[in-house]
Subunit: 158 residues, 2 copies
Amino acid sequence: MRAAPLYETPIAADWIDYNGHLRDAYYGLILSLATDALMDRLGLDAPYRERTRCTLYTVEMHIHYLREVRQSDVVVVSAAILGNDAKRIHAALRLVCAGQTDPAATAEIMLLHIEQGDTPATAPFPAPILRAIEQFRTQWGGPIAGPGSRRMELRSRT
Amino acid sequence: MRAAPLYETPIAADWIDYNGHLRDAYYGLILSLATDALMDRLGLDAPYRERTRCTLYTVEMHIHYLREVRQSDVVVVSAAILGNDAKRIHAALRLVCAGQTDPAATAEIMLLHIEQGDTPATAPFPAPILRAIEQFRTQWGGPIAGPGSRRMELRSRT
């Protein structure tokens, strides 16, 4: 998978939990802020959202937590687009601590294009946005690297 | 699925994003705090963690975002245990806005029992904890309600 580095952040002190490492939910916050950066990159930025009343809603997210992240770490999130249709983007995210190569987390998200109004409704991407998505997907995509989305289950139970 | 109500919270102002609703990552934070409440219920509480140096690490999480949550909402999280083995708990979480019946989000998580030391290592649950997990699972479990964990993919692509 070719993934574009999109977002970098240090770790805030209040993101560390009683286990002495980054709380699971704050991996999610970092991935969410990286998704905002992906939206900016695709033209789904604040001016677009104001002009069109359209935005993306996250409808599903899967995260694999692979390594602990410490307060001293700086993390970089890269993104790839695995698939899209007229209204949806299926993206893969990869969170890596600066100076390391193996990811601390991998995630997949499904994003849905919504026109917000009195009643939010799905809406097709405008043609220029769809082109941007498909160009990004051509450049930054390919088979998923690392563990991907799957049905969660315990095969062996005591 | 029978799920035990474990955690309730109002929505903090800074959890609302530019879409005017609860940012996806803060559903995750609420679910994470509810998981802490589940740990307390099972005896994996702060005194246990201090005494044994053992805790739970989240290794995987899947969330379905089903409804928007507003700042005026109060949300309640219920939990069920779908499966366990000697070291792992597979739990289902359900986040419902007070006064509603359909969930705003459903999630599944896989939790792994870890002894923290110089090198964190998996560890089996002590017998009393395992009994508490299995008792909880007997009382609060059963087939998953609502959309469950699955492989994420777009079947139709343009």
